[in-house]
Assembly symmetry: D2
Homo-oligomer: 385 residues x 4
């Protein structure tokens, strides 16, 4: 159950802006409350790229292993941890990025994803997969590595037999979609929704909206997003709009009813105009979900009086939780949606930089969900027996 300290595993360590270096890191000993994950697939997310650029929370962090959408098999697990997580060595699991304290007010209210112990705030140390420096023992805090350390407070889900690892890695965007669209916006049968941005999170929202019986489902993107918008249609979108070629707000308010959308979700990164458009498209008493990072930019023309006049509700959201991951895994298992269309690229550990640039710089505009597969290449496996 415990590892030999002399062993090492390879990991892609982000050392300075826009660079990772393959390093051998020691395999830690595992106590009764801990475990190790043999990473099969680590999805790449826009947040990884922000940290990779050393922007936002990344600016304060030392060298670290990125990767927080982690799927793998249990390589080692202590007795107490095995009981707590309901897993054995060899089981395939998904691991949330959060490592919450478990006892604060937020944890005790179901909001462990924003517990201060697992959340960046002005340079103070915190624990979170893909955001914790390698100099914090035992170092293996990210999925772009052969092994991931499973902290006692990790949130671990045993996966159903037969669920493909690449598909499983979509649990993050899908659980996010469910929490944002269903749990936070209250999206339900018969409500209309506009989803701005057809990236992995926007597409997760499409599936969530479809599952929840919402309609019409309108997805907006840019002309460069043609392939992503085609996938949106395959997943259940009723209308797709290239917002740089067509007046999205007009399209939405021209729909039957003509009163605007019940729910608008903005998942676009960096752009501020979609927030203003979201308020313009929302119906009276409509809900606007703010889910995209604007990289610190303020919204320069926030239409306050329109928010008041229509009694719009805006809600900032981040990440998922137990309540949304469980149905996400059930949907991924059930196979009712062609979700495999979302996984467009797979890279080994030696191509982590290429994977990150593909997501952050859109070197391939058709890329949607890009996976790092650390076991797929390089060295022999050195997982403790």
């Amino acid at each position: 159950m415990t590892a030999t300290a002399a062993q090492t595993v390879p990991a892609a360590v982000a050392t300075e802006p826009l660079q990772t270096v393959l390093r051998e890191l020691p395999v830690p000993d595992i106590g009764p409350d801990e475990g190790l994950l043999r990473v099969e697939v680590a999805g790449v997310c826009g947040t990884d790229f922000q940290i990779y650029c050393r922007r936002s929370r990344g600016a304060h962090l030392g060298p670290l292993i990125l990767g927080h959408e982690n799927i793998g098999t249990v390589a080692a697990v202590g007795e107490a941890a095995a009981a707590r997580w309901g897993v054995r060595v060899g089981d395939r699991v998904a691991v949330e990025e959060f490592i919450p304290c478990g006892v604060c007010r937020l944890c005790r209210s179901g909001h462990y994803r924003i517990c201060a112990a697992t959340d960046s705030r002005g340079g103070q140390p915190f624990l979170r997969y893909g955001s914790t420096p390698v100099d914090r023992a035992p170092g293996l805090w990210g999925g772009f590595s052969r092994l991931l350390y499973l902290h006692p407070n990790a949130v671990v889900y045993r996966l159903p037999d037969g669920l493909d690892a690449d598909l499983a890695a979509l649990f993050v965007p899908l659980a996010n979609g469910i929490r944002w669209v269903v749990h936070e916006a209250g999206g339900t049968v018969g409500q209309s929704i506009v989803i701005q941005g057809p990236g992995q999170h926007g597409l997760g929202c499409v599936v969530a909206a479809k599952e929840a019986g919402m309609g019409p489902i309108i997805v907006s993107g840019l002309a460069a997003d043609a392939q992503r918008l085609a996938v949106a249609t395959r997943l259940g979108a009723d209308h797709v709009v290239e917002a740089d070629r067509s007046d999205l707000v007009a399209r939405v308010t021209e729909l039957p009813g003509g009163e605007g959308a019940d729910v608008v979700v903005d998942t676009t990164p960096g752009a501020t105009a979609p927030v203003t458009a979201a308020v313009a498209m929302a119906a009276k008493r409509g809900v606007v979900i703010l889910a995209g990072s604007k990289h610190g930019q303020p919204i320069g023309d926030f239409p306050h009086d329109m928010v008041v006049r229509k009694e719009v509700m805006l809600r900032g959201v981040r990440g998922h939780d137990h309540r949304s991951v469980e149905p996400a895994l059930a949907i991924l298992t059930a196979g009712r949606y062609p979700l495999e269309l979302m996984t467009t690229h797979r890279f080994g550990l030696d191509e982590v930089d290429r994977a990150l640039r593909m997501v952050g710089e859109r070197t391939d505009p058709d890329a949607i969900h890009v996976n790092v597969c650390p076991a797929a290449s390089l060295h022999e496996d050195v997982v403790p027996a």
Copy 2:
């Protein structure tokens, strides 16, 4: 039960920007579904001043009688209307400003206050007390008049015996406070709240928060608001802050707990900085209520990523409803709060311009709730027998 058409009543008609003219308007015949109110007190609100200046929705409207916080006695009422409203001639009543259609989706969902039939939208005609032109028959659509027409769809409350008319006129700010703080923000026992702006609406929020068991209750104003802040303290505020002399955000985040406020309400008119400050003061998962009009100005530095990072909820709100007016009237009747401190000025029909300027231009900074009392002066009463 019906009036003699030859009779007239005096009313202050807002004819052009910043001007009202006393006119005699005919007393209408009343059908079985209608009524007439002998206005005792019509409170003056900042919205009246906006229309008086011909800004905002006022820009599109012809000559009209302002005044939408109306208390009076039933001067005439048709049989069907008497049954519907549960009133008789001589009963003292409060009348909401809304004249909703009663059958649209919003009306059928409890949101009649924003029903399109009673809501300004880009110059289209609508019915609403204090906002409907005199050329729309029967003309008596505002409280700055000896008589107010009671439309079949008016929302009328019979007042408890013994409730003073000036006190009763506070039902609007108090019901607004209850709806915004309690029903929309979900403010409840033990939650902290910051209320920005100590005008009539801010003070209504103080009472609502106190009733709901919230605390600490922090009220911010300017140095010029010293008297209003003193009233806030008398009504139950735990802390008052002159935000132009003291760092409000720091004060709030220094409070025990140090995590920001559960609820922040912005009632300030015209200023945009309080919205940004509200987001900064809100706790994780906190609620920001946007209740002040910014006279069409956008917020120039809306801190989007902070909204996302803290999962803040923002909600635009307007007005009150049945669920909030009823407890407001009960609180006004119970006498547990020194609410009479809020009524600072009373004017006759011939001083409507002075009353409006006092509210809109703050000619007396200590003014809080300013009342027009149409029956208090001028002509003899000509109400139909």
Copy 3:
């Protein structure tokens, strides 16, 4: 626009227990606020049979025309009513059974379906389609008639072009299912549900649960319900259980997770054991919807301490509302479910007794939704021009 008083229309008048008599009733004059519906389809519901037997609310009522699930075309409509309902002569519409006052606390809070004006209470008069005596002018208060009077407070929906009238008549069970399962129980993506009773309401709940992304969906009935359970499967049920041959509670608690159902809906009429079973099947914090009438019988062994121990929520529910009828009509129009399987029988006005007994006495156990089609037989049409 107005009718000639001399004209009459045939209607099936329920005169004494278990008997209807065909009578010619005068066609009323229609004022500006009213209308007349040429009934195409009037669905038969278990409540109709209760009144037909003169049980429950029926005991207090005089002769009346039953039928409260009404679909038809507008035969006449006053000017104000046409504007309010957004309809013209010839439009096909659905009419809710409720005739609410529009101004009480319940109406103003979105609960018009239980407004006292439209709700039976101890023999006091009320207005409701299918429950109002013919001696209340103008008499035509039920759908088992060539014409139905449209009261000013009727709740009327213009139907989409091309929606079949028999299919449209399913709007009641489907809207009920949406309100009970989605709006009241909060059923949503990934939640499990048990639906007791595969009649029209149980099947409406199946569709609502499916639309809302719930699963597994388990439907229970008796061995005699084999055909209905087969339809449940066609509509999306994951499991069906003949509860008289199989231990339903054990089946539910044996499901993966093993913690009971998130939502249980009891739609069974008359039987009390399903209520006790519902509590036994509910998960901790589960919701039990009580939707079946027990014809006045108390539950003799209500498991109070189990409700407490599991913190179960029980909610009594009745009928639908605007928020549920709208998505019901959208689902009926979209054609994603083989809902036509639910309409099993159609009868003319001269066979109303047979239709009622089929529903109330289950003379054909395979019957699900039984329609009376008043225009399908008998006399010539006498609708006012």
Copy 4:
């Protein structure tokens, strides 16, 4: 920081029905994740008496130390536990009875109080203060002891300086009242409430209702409860009713409005008639909170159809949580209510049987909150240094 194993402390061990025996139990060594509480006050609750009688969950348990409303000072605490709980040796704290797992679906959703790890279910072992046998190491699982073991998963609150220990021991009934009345029933400004049973939980509900701005507040008891009802009045009840001398249902429905109560809470132990009365007193859409144990008896005449007709919601509830304990402690500290009237009796460890019988058999009908104060008598203190 660790104790000498040779030391012992006295505890009242419940060995067989209706009997406790004073025993010396060894003081355990404390690891980094654990602590020891020097118990100052352990409140006695009706549940203690049920276990003491070996009824309900008590039937399955071996010898144990009762007492789950625990206030004391930290006698020893490991380093990790001190950081987690924010406490040091000597701090006064309150400890919830729950020892939840922290990782199950209920824990992750804010419902840790009903986590299976801390909840009785058919004889399976679980951890909970006052319900865990002494043969489960380290034995000190109840408050009727000089020392209480603080498990790593204990829910611990540092108390404000100056809060009296007897007063602090009211945190359980007060937090229960807040959760049941405010969080579960949604009780808020202007709503009416009937509270059945003026024991410690009923009185906790009175304070919660008063804080939340509810009114009128009606409390029912028996003639023998005269003293408790007098305390209810002192705490803010508007009306008290001796339900064995007066028709409670009639009194409630005669109140202004006449439509029944918005919220009814049944806290009565053992009696089933109050549940039926609660449904009868509830308004349409009213909420009935089921909070009293009926010792396994079913309700024999549960008025199902009245629940349906009025769309009543019933909710079983148990215990408190973080969200309710925090405001309870704030209310206890603020001193706005004469809560000291609730603490009627204090007993030493040698009188635990008398204390339990006073609560369970009402040997003194005026008793309300009865405290065991283990430090107040007997041996010298042997707490580890």
